[in-house]
């Protein structure tokens, strides 16, 4: 019994040590994806950018993230210009490849959320703002943005939860995150169920914590 407890404690410690990787990956790709999504939505408002943004969203929403990760880490990295070019030190790093794939994939989903929120801002208000003589910048800052953010928040939160869960795929391209450590421990100990349940508990804590935080922000915005 005490041996079992010692094993669980050692595993929990190893998993917690890998937590920073999962957190850094989640946070950095959340920032990257949100910024890229804003660019995509802005591009959708122009005539040239519209089809480009459409193709981007179509491709990244229509294919599995696992495939995208393999594409970046093994596929793109095998191309001559990348392999022998200045970008090689980046593409050699699995953490960078995981970040890039997550950023591109999640940007497509978040762009859809932002687009829907933008479409939900009543046209009358935008026209009214124009009639008041507001310039483009003021309109975006004082009329469109505040409403868009409030409308987008619940769905945006869901995407962030999805993103945290998706970071576990980085373990398939040799990133040693929470899932990666769990797999390593299992390879040594053959104790599948306990170890995976510990890892699952870590993700559950992260996603539940984020959900609670977002709900609090939503309530704050509603007032």
């Amino acid at each position: 019994m005490s041996e079992e407890l010692a094993f669980l404690a050692a595993t929990a410690l190893a998993i917690v040590r890998a937590l920073p990787i999962t957190l850094v990956l989640s946070l950095s790709s959340a920032i990257g994806a949100s910024m890229l999504a804003a660019v995509l939505v802005a591009a959708q408002q122009t005539r040239i950018g519209r089809p480009l943004a459409h193709v981007w969203i179509f491709v990244f929403r229509g294919t599995p993230l696992l495939l995208q990760m393999f594409m970046v880490y093994y596929g793109v990295a095998a191309l001559g210009p990348i392999r022998h070019g200045v970008l090689w030190p980046l593409f050699r790093d699995p953490l960078f490849c995981a970040w890039l794939a997550l950023t591109c994939c999640c940007s497509a989903y978040i762009a859809e959320v932002l687009r829907a929120a933008l479409a939900a801002v009543p046209t009358g208000q935008i026209e009214a703002a124009k009639a008041c003589g507001m310039g483009r910048g003021t309109r975006v800052r004082r009329v469109i943005m505040p409403q868009m953010l409030r409308l987008a928040l619940p769905a945006y939160g869901n995407e962030l939860v999805m993103l945290i869960k998706s970071t576990s795929l980085a373990s398939t391209i040799t990133v040693v995150d929470v899932t990666g450590v769990a797999q390593l421990v299992i390879a040594h100990s053959y104790r599948t169920i306990e170890v995976f349940c510990l890892a699952a508990a870590v993700y559950l804590a992260l996603t539940a914590g984020l959900t609670a935080l977002l709900r609090r922000i939503e309530r704050g915005l509603a007032q």
Partner: protein
């Protein structure tokens, strides 16, 4: 060396081509997604019923199932089932004094893993859909002497279906993409085939790009099908 084989040969259906392997891989991907969707619908409906149940422990258990399966990475569920199932089955068999049955088939494990996650999301959709039917209508149908089947077919389904179809379409897309995770269990679905082909021909970009195109064909074809179904569903709900 396959390094210098032309693309048409590599992707073709000849002896050096991976065409058939890729196509049958795509077929298995569809099979996993369909199996997962079916398991998810069945279990999801049960979960919805359980959450509406008067037995508090049952409702709580169903809610907890949803929170856990929606909060944990799909990859972990697949890994847990794939690596954990032989041990669990052996332990189960030992209870009855049977020899360990070995690993279940990868297709079954894959469908089950994706299906368990799918169920948690589908239960949410069904719960939302049920709210679309006013209680009074169900009571009225009961008072009119309709049985549970007639009630479902003539009162609930026509009103719920067009609410439920669009989110179910989304879940189907997720199932289709999550099925790639089953490649870890060694099932020769599209992801696995492209990985094997990429490794043995040393043309990863080509094969991953081809797999992406095949996934896009499947996802956009199902988007079109769901849109068609939605239009029919709307007609069914018609008059409003």
């Amino acid at each position: 060396m396959s390094d210098d084989l032309p693309i048409a040969t590599l992707l073709g259906f000849g002896p050096d081509g991976w065409g058939w392997a890729l196509v049958s891989g795509a077929g298995l991907t569809l099979a996993v997604a369909l199996g997962a969707m079916a398991i998810g619908t069945l279990l999801g409906a049960l979960l919805t019923a359980a959450q509406a149940s008067r037995a508090v422990w049952l409702a709580r258990a169903a809610a907890a199932y949803g929170v856990i399966l929606r909060g944990v990475p799909e990859l972990l569920v697949v890994l847990l089932l794939y690596f954990g199932a032989p041990g669990m089955l052996a332990a189960g068999a030992a209870l009855f004094g049977l020899p360990p049955p070995g690993s279940p088939p990868a297709l079954l494990t894959g469908c089950l893993a994706i299906g368990l996650v799918s169920a948690a999301y589908q239960a949410e959709v069904f719960r939302g859909g049920m709210l679309a039917v006013p209680r009074g209508q169900i009571e009225a149908a009961m008072a009119a002497g309709m049985g549970p089947f007639a009630r479902f077919r003539r009162v609930i389904a026509p009103q719920v279906l067009h609410h439920v179809l669009p989110p179910l379409g989304n879940i189907w897309q997720f199932n289709l993409k999550d099925s790639a995770l089953v490649s870890i269990a060694g099932l020769a679905e599209l992801m696995r085939v492209s990985l094997v082909a990429a490794g043995s021909t040393r043309r990863p970009f080509l094969f991953f790009a081809t797999a992406m195109v095949l996934y896009l064909v499947m996802t956009s074809a199902s988007t079109a099908l769901f849109r068609l179904a939605e239009r029919r569903g709307q007609r069914w709900a018609g008059g409003r």
